[in-house]
Symmetry: C2
Subunit: 83 residues, 2 copies
């Protein structure tokens, strides 16, 4: 896995952590972000890459700033994937 | 323009500001990011939406952290586009 793919895995993991912390179900998040549950599940597992616009919509649905999702992501990619 | 489209215009503007501040030409950035000059030009004008992976590659080519690109972007979108 190169660091391009790794960013999607880390972003997906972070989205899930935020969603769970806010006790929002995948169904509810999908509804807020005008998408469906499977899409959210695949994004969270790093299997699907949302557009930047859709990622922005998801962060707004989670009521977080998009910058928070990327905070220190380079370090996390390096430590998680040794790249 | 809704705030989804607005994020691409603001991101493009920010990429151009960073690229110029680092005195890197569009050609050079395109080379570093394994793409072409027109693509960089269209992204900078908000006309093309890179994937998150490609945006990450571009930020690495510019030697900035991707989080810096999104810092305070919600406020800038609101002030630039009144949304």
């Amino acid at each position: 896995m190169d660091n391009k793919e790794a960013i999607m895995v880390v972003l997906g993991k972070r989205l899930r952590i935020v969603r769970n912390a806010k006790r929002i179900s995948q169904e509810k998040l999908a509804e807020y972000a005008q998408t469906d549950k499977n899409y959210i599940s695949e994004v969270e597992r790093g299997l699907k890459q949302p557009t930047i616009e859709k990622l922005y919509t998801i962060t707004q649905a989670l009521d977080i700033n998009i910058e928070d999702l990327f905070k220190g992501i380079e370090e996390e990619i390096q430590s998680d994937f040794n790249i």
